[in-house]
């Protein structure tokens, strides 16, 4: 059952008895999980035009064909090795990268991999109802592409657990299937992955902002001294790019359609009357998912972050772009902190302790570039004066120094009363969600047709036409 034919790989699965034995137990459980917790209603009778990675070279990593979801060939791929790779940062900088897990760092490395791994199936669970409300076959196919690749990313983490962490690793791999998003008893580890994603605006905002956190985490793990982890995550990044493309273009297409509807409505502003999604509502979802994803980066001052960096477990995103010594033993970082009376003050902290914030800086910059593209290419191009704003990183935080305090989206401190009074202006309300559910109530399954609230994409997938039958029903 465990064969390189069924499981495309470049890790010598055929010659790896340990991995084969571990997967023999795990793979059937994974398939059970996929059928039970994966996309609802599209498992048995639908063929989806999907990209499958069958090798890591340019020809192989994007092989397109129709496939039934449970028959997707989840593979195990590591980016090609860098010969004689050296550790690029931290206290072991310059030494040989590790081809095996050093016993000293077994537990923190396992923890990093488990936390990363837990997010992958979580998003599949969060999105399992969305297919029933798709705005087009093109979007439905993209949803499933994201889903199967998140599943593959789970495989990637499970590969590491199975290959390098012994029995504990196998136990953790099983637990990754036992926790479920939103489950009261066994929830997913990170809060953002327990929120249901039941509207397509949520989905696009999630893939835009939360998958981008995934990207920054993967970038920092791809610097790791543990070479198999670095190579695994480097390959995952090639797939992650598509997920963010889905998010960014999804919201761009909604904005596009909103601009058209605004013109149709004669600038009365009442886009909802025409079944569209108004800009303030889009802004609320940006606010919500961006702030949630900021929390995923952890506390501003973190001893874990310092230890991960010092020990070479997790670097900064794009470590080689930094011009410092990559050791950071005595560097400092200026943080905006709150003093005891709640006033902002600038505080100097050791750089290593501030690396969560450094990664967050990278993340905010990457998000801002995407938001700028929306504003320039859509809103400005349509002559609109409205703009999407990335909220302040202080806004709506539950982790770190700003947690428990109140700020408006521009980062101005406000009272708890004012927060209570006004947060509905900034964050999605149940009425907002109800409206979104109402306009996506009827799915659009006709090739080339799109729901009223979203514009068609500029082009199709893999050079196919926009009206290509991306998902087809078996006779």
């Amino acid at each position: 059952m465990i064969s390189s034919e069924r499981i495309p790989n470049n890790v010598d699965l055929g010659g790896n008895k340990r991995l084969q034995r571990a997967l023999e137990h795990w793979q059937p459980k994974y398939l059970d999980w996929w059928r039970e917790m994966g996309p609802q209603g599209f498992q048995q009778h639908h063929q989806v035009y999907l990209r499958t990675a069958v090798s890591v070279d340019a020809a192989g990593w994007a092989h397109f064909d129709y496939v039934k979801l449970p028959e997707y060939r989840w593979g195990i791929f590591l980016a090609e090795p860098t010969p004689q790779r050296k550790i690029g940062f931290g206290d072991f900088k310059g030494k040989d990268a590790w081809q095996e897990v050093p016993g000293e760092f077994r537990n923190p490395l396992r923890r990093l991999i488990v936390v990363q791994g837990d997010t992958e199936p979580a998003s599949v669970e969060q999105q399992r109802e969305l297919g029933q409300h798709c705005p087009s076959l093109y979007d439905l196919r993209n949803l499933f592409q994201v889903n199967v690749e998140e599943g593959r990313h789970l495989w990637a983490m499970v590969y590491l657990l199975h290959s390098y962490f012994g029995r504990d690793g196998r136990d953790e791999a099983e637990a990754l299937l036992e926790r479920n998003s939103g489950n009261a008893d066994t929830p997913r580890m990170l809060e953002a992955f327990n929120e249901p994603i039941d509207t397509w605006l949520d989905f696009f905002a999630f893939t835009m902002f939360t998958d981008r956190d995934g990207k920054s985490q993967l970038l920092s793990l791809s610097e790791s001294s543990l070479d198999p982890l670095a190579r695994t995550t480097r390959f995952m990044l090639t797939e992650e790019a598509h997920h963010m493309f889905v998010g960014e273009t999804g919201i761009a297409r909604i904005l596009e359609r909103t601009c058209e509807l605004m013109k149709e409505s004669g600038f009365s502003g009442d886009v909802r009357r025409l079944g569209g999604i108004d800009i303030p509502l889009i802004q609320k979802f940006v606010n919500f998912w961006f702030s949630q994803s900021l929390d995923l980066h952890g506390s501003e001052v973190s001893s874990n972050a310092a230890a991960y960096f010092a020990n070479g477990l997790k670097g900064r995103a794009e470590e080689d772009k930094y011009t410092d010594d990559h050791v950071l033993a005595s560097d400092t970082y200026i943080l905006d902190m709150l003093d005891e009376s709640g006033r902002m003050s600038q505080q100097e902290v050791p750089m290593r302790n501030a690396l969560n914030e450094v990664l967050r800086d990278w993340y905010v910059g990457d998000c801002q570039a995407g938001v700028d593209r929306w504003n320039k290419r859509v809103l400005e191009a349509h002559g609109m004066s409205e703009r999407i704003l990335l909220p302040s990183r202080k806004f709506n935080r539950r982790v770190g120094v700003y947690a428990g305090k109140h700020f408006d989206p521009l980062g101005h401190p406000i009272s708890a009363d004012e927060w209570e009074r006004r947060n509905h202006e900034w964050l999605p309300t149940s009425a907002d969600k109800a409206y979104l559910r109402s306009i996506q109530a009827t799915p659009v399954f006709e090739p080339g047709k799109f729901a009223n609230y979203i514009a068609p994409p500029a082009r199709g997938i893999n050079r196919q036409a926009i009206d290509f039958e991306y998902v087809r029903t078996e006779a």
Partner: protein, 552 residues
Amino acid sequence: MDHVAPSPSVSFETSPDRYRHWKLTFDGPVATLAMDVDEDAGLRPDDYKLKLNSYDLGVDIELADALQRLRFEHPEVHTVLLTSLKPRIFCAGANIFMLGTSGHGFKVNFCKFTNETRLGMEDMSANSGIKFLAAINGICAGGGYELALACDEIYLVDDGSAAVSLPETPLLGVLPGTGGLTRVVDKRKVRRDLADHFSTLTEGLRGKRAVEGRFVDAVCPTSQFKEAVEKRVQELAAMSDRPASGPGVTFGPLEPVIDGDTIRYKYVTGEIDRAKRLCALTISAPEAPQPTTPEAFLAAGDQSWAIRAFRELDDALLRMRLNEPEIGTVLLRATGDPQAVLDVDAALLAHKGHWLVREITGLIRRTLKRVDLTAKTFFALVEPGNAFAGTLFELVLAADRAYMLDDPDTPNHVQLSAVSGGLYPMSNGLTRLETRFLGEPESVGKALAHEGPFDAAGALEAGLVFSSPDDIDWDDEVRMAIEERVSFSPDALTGMEANLRFAGPETMETKIFGRLTAWQNWIFQRPNAVGERGALMVYGREGRPSFDWKRT
């Protein structure tokens, strides 16, 4: 990475013809062990002189050797008279200048060894039929009185000046750490306030007050002292069940071959990996038929496996403690035929009433305790071809963790014998099985009642090993466990292991190691003892110590 060469090695082997500090004489059932320390023959003669019968590790190594020979070589000895050949000086205790100039680790090891030696005397009294009487002829301070406290009875000459004392606290700012405080209240059952007062008296107690407080058993005027002591040692000797005459078993030298980082005895091999800070310690089962009767044991002398292998293990442990402080983790293996070990067990159990067999099990028992008390991590690696059966299985139980390979293609077994049911109690008075299964006492009986060997799954199920990785996981599991272990703080590991190894009841022995020694080791690190103006440092040199007065 550079490694500091090991500090000058201490050897624990000696023999009476080489003693510098003790005279061992025999008179029928009484052996006299008389202290006569050569003050110029300390281990570091340039740093200190062993004045007033004060002692260092070298003096104590001779004492330990003498005790071992009394046990094995002299079955006719029923009582030991411990005294001094120096006029009006019994023993002034551990040499203060030696302590003041020794590093922390050496001090700790010195105290541990002296404690084990004194507990060995009490072990002889309890198990070997050999009683001790201390005849105190003069100055008896600190470690000198602690040595007397390890005896069954203490006779003090009443000459108006001879006194027993524990002056460590008032004089040196440390504790009488060789069991003194513990034995005064736990063994001699001195009332607590009297003990408190005594422990702060520099000059100690003499005469009537010493005997009234139960600090000594008898005081006699100088003129009657010798006679009273002689009378009493004969009475004590009459209580023994040891044979009236020999022969005994003479202990020859072990003569290990040391080749670089490998030490090779007949049955024990230690191989050090300095880069990884590991020692692979392997003990092998007997390869030739072993004695099955007491007569055969006597005939085999010191070459029977049970004596030889455990003398070697004991020696290896002592060398590792003293000479290899940076080797923090010991990987225990046993090789050879497990049935050969079980056969030895059968002989030891069948003849456990015989004096020599009793001594052999005592040697094994004390050596296993030495493992328990060694401040290094022990991981037992149970692999196919192992000889962890019976007595050697006690090493698995003594280890902090045992990993047992579960390879379906290669049989791998361990086996218990009845020796684990009570022949080798730990210092807490329980067997290793009882200590291990404190929370599930029924598991003790189940393990002992199990017929035949356990395979890896069975041993794991029975709670006898920590982990049983399969052939695919084994290398990585074991490697990572070891790498992780050696990365932890050695101080924290020492404390952690010492706390986890001795579950269950307290005994005088566990109090000595767990309370007295632990506090002493704390005090030994504190500026009030070892700072520039610490009490231990200024003693005998200049003025008063200066203390940080804060208490916690």
